[in-house]
């Protein structure tokens, strides 16, 4: 039983991290109807930019290496880079393709993926880097001693950060002018336009927010596995979360992440050994697929009734 809980809790915590990546997809899909394939590349780009600045800033500014000042300066600069990326994306990719069918926009984001990957590695090089956020990835002793359940302190930290981020985004959507405008756009582009919300600004903002989410996700995943090209693969973990939770639902991404995280771990541990293991590559997809058969619009997706 103790093992079961260990796996379950570990899975739920991982699930939060999947949700974090899925969140970026949801934001963009909600506001602009674009299935942004480049989200994984953005995570990579953000993390690499952050680590890159950490490396070069001490030399440029004379700040103490590894210090707080460098950390926050790098964070702000990376955020700036993500905003620039958002502006460039809107200008170069989205604006000329407005009103094109979704598949064309999807394809354009694939082109964007190559661009972003090439730029990231072109500027910062292909070296694999470590990232230390100062939180040790070790078992929490209290849980170990009292319940013999292993829970990683880093995962708890990451989950907390993700939770704060989600809460902050929810507040942002609910209570700010921009947030309300974003929701209006998500509900109805035409209507939003007609009441005078500049769609272009909204797109830039939402891509920038998605860039911010990518930066946080990239930092956490980068601290877990190193800052390297493989960060783009985190997108693969996020996709089943996305279809399970619904493309347009922020809470869906969270709940979907928890379900996927927990069930894939339990499946790998309890089912994997009987079929040769390694089922984590497809299990979340099959799970999500089975779920979709029951609810085709995802957990929290908007139900679509065909009107004829």
């Amino acid at each position: 039983m103790q093992f079961f809980f260990e796996v379950l809790i570990g899975g739920l915590l991982s699930g939060v991290l999947y949700a974090l990546v899925a969140l970026g997809f949801v934001l963009i899909f909600k506001a602009s109807g674009v299935f942004n394939f480049a989200q994984g590349a953005m995570v990579f780009f953000a993390a690499l930019t952050f680590v890159g600045f950490l490396e070069v800033l001490p030399g440029w500014t004379g700040l103490e290496e590894g210090g707080r000042a460098v950390f926050w300066l790098a964070f702000v600069l990376s955020l700036g880079a993500m905003v620039l990326l958002a502006i460039a994306t809107e200008r170069v990719v989205l604006r000329p393709l407005v009103n094109q069918p979704p598949i064309t926009l999807f394809m354009a984001t694939i082109g964007l993926t190559f661009l972003v990957e090439g730029i990231a590695q072109g500027i910062w090089g292909a070296n694999v880097r470590g990232l230390d956020l100062g939180i040790q990835d070790e078992p929490i002793e209290y849980m170990m001693e009292n319940f013999n359940i292993l829970i990683s302190s880093f995962d708890v930290f990451a989950a907390t950060v993700a939770a704060i981020l989600v809460a902050a985004l929810a507040l942002f959507f609910q209570y700010t002018r921009i947030g309300r405008a974003l929701r209006a756009v998500a509900d109805d582009h035409q209507a939003a336009l007609s009441i005078g919300i500049p769609l272009r600004h909204i797109w830039v903002i939402v891509w920038a927010v998605a860039g911010f989410v990518a930066l946080v996700a990239g930092m956490i995943w980068g601290a877990r596995n190193g800052v390297q090209f493989a960060l783009t693969f985190t997108a693969l973990k996020a996709l089943p979360v996305l279809i399970l939770g619904g493309f347009t639902s922020v809470p869906g991404a969270i709940v979907g992440g928890l379900i996927i995280g927990a069930s894939e771990k339990l499946a790998e541990v309890y089912v994997g050994p009987f079929v040769g293991g390694g089922i984590e590559s497809w299990f979340p997809y099959i799970l999500a697929l089975g779920f979709l058969l029951i609810r085709p619009e995802g957990l929290f997706g908007e139900r679509h009734i065909d009107r004829v």
Binding site: A108, I110, E117, G118, L236, W282
Partner: protein
């Protein structure tokens, strides 16, 4: 002047319903096939045959497969490479386990295996649409590759999980050189492309497109959605499967399941989007574009910049240019190269007298 249909009156519906109704198109296609079947083998060197033409043809076939599903029937799929894998491993096992199995039959059977698997993974399409379906097809992608690695029977218990294509022999003639392999590939691809063209211009194709454009209306005029979608999945997977078998037999030789990974699926998707969704011709153009562009960049960029920047930067620059060109093409012509081709033809039709 040359491309003018004026004066070509069709006196019968039969004439109007030919595969290529305009004379110049008929002649053009014949010339094209003639050129690739007769002239190319004479003049192309091994490099062009083995490294460019054969893969372009094979990827074109896979792209036709995906185009049938996505372009005509409107079901977005990200699992084409997995169906190619089924075709390759299927053909291999038929060749291996049945004595005297004719090669062409084996690749068709491989295609049928892929079709069967395709129908299975197409079942969810009855309830799931759009990007939800696309992500769901990733289940096929990952599951099939996983199963091919795990179930050792598929690779005949080879220690590394790879299969090595047997020699190809048809009616006593061994297809072992690049020219013969190229011609064999060309033959299969051209025949299947023509069959595909026939399908999409007949009731089958109209039903696919009807489902794509508006499924409720399609059902109301009596089209059975399930059957139509599953037919599209079957035919599409069949095409991908045959492409996969050719990939193993006339192109790569020894293949591992991981060779049919998600990247390949995406590549095939690029081909149809760049080439033209819902166009057989576009599948060829897209495949050629996606195969040739990176090579062209790899040949030219280092020459232009090689001494100025590091080798790594040159490689990254290629990636940047590749991505940039994709975006550029989508902006210039979101409907793909096939549309550009059509516009070109229309211009030609009027030339030199624009109205």
């Amino acid at each position: 002047m040359l491309y003018r249909e004026a004066g070509q009156f069709k006196a019968s519906y039969e004439a109007d319903q030919q595969i290529f109704p305009i004379l110049q198109d008929r002649v053009g296609v014949l010339l094209l096939i003639g050129f690739f079947a007769l002239a190319v083998p004479l003049f192309a060197d091994q490099y062009w045959l083995k490294a460019i033409l054969i893969p372009v043809l094979i990827f074109s076939l896979a792209a036709i497969g995906l185009n049938i599903l996505t372009g005509y029937a409107g079901q977005l799929s990200l699992g084409s490479a997995a169906f190619m894998a089924v075709g390759a491993f299927g053909a291999y096992n038929f060749m291996l386990r049945i004595d005297g199995m004719p090669f062409l039959v084996a690749i068709l059977l491989g295609g049928l295996c892929a079709a069967a698997v395709g129908v299975l993974f197409g079942l969810p399409s009855l309830r799931i649409k759009g990007f939800y379906l696309a992500v769901a097809t990733l289940a096929a992608q990952f599951f099939i590759v996983w199963a091919l690695v795990k179930i050792e029977w598929f690779s005949n218990y080879s220690s590394s999980g790879v299969i090595t294509a047997q020699e190809i022999e048809i009616l006593g003639f061994a297809f072992d050189g690049p020219v013969s392999k190229y011609l064999l590939t060309l033959f299969v691809v051209v025949v299947m492309a023509l069959l595909a063209k026939n399908m999409v211009r007949s009731t089958t194709g109209r039903m696919w497109m009807a489902v794509r454009d508006m499924d409720v209306a399609a059902e109301v005029i009596g089209i059975r959605l399930m059957r139509t979608k599953l037919t599209a999945f079957a035919v599409s997977s069949f095409y991908c499967g045959v492409a996969g078998a050719l990939y193993a037999y006339t192109y790569i030789g020894t293949v591992e399941p991981e060779g049919f990974n998600l990247d390949l699926s995406f590549k095939i998707l690029f081909m149809i989007i760049i080439g033209g969704v819902g166009s057989i011709m576009g599948s060829f153009l897209g495949a050629a574009f996606i195969v040739l562009l990176p090579i062209a960049l790899d040949v030219t960029v280092p020459v232009l910049l090689g001494d100025l920047v590091s080798a790594s930067f040159v490689s990254n620059l290629q990636l940047i240019v590749f991505g940039g060109l994709i975006v550029f093409f989508l902006i210039v012509e979101p409907h793909g190269l096939a549309r550009l081709w059509q516009i070109g033809k229309e211009k030609l039709r009027l030339w030199p007298f624009p109205h």
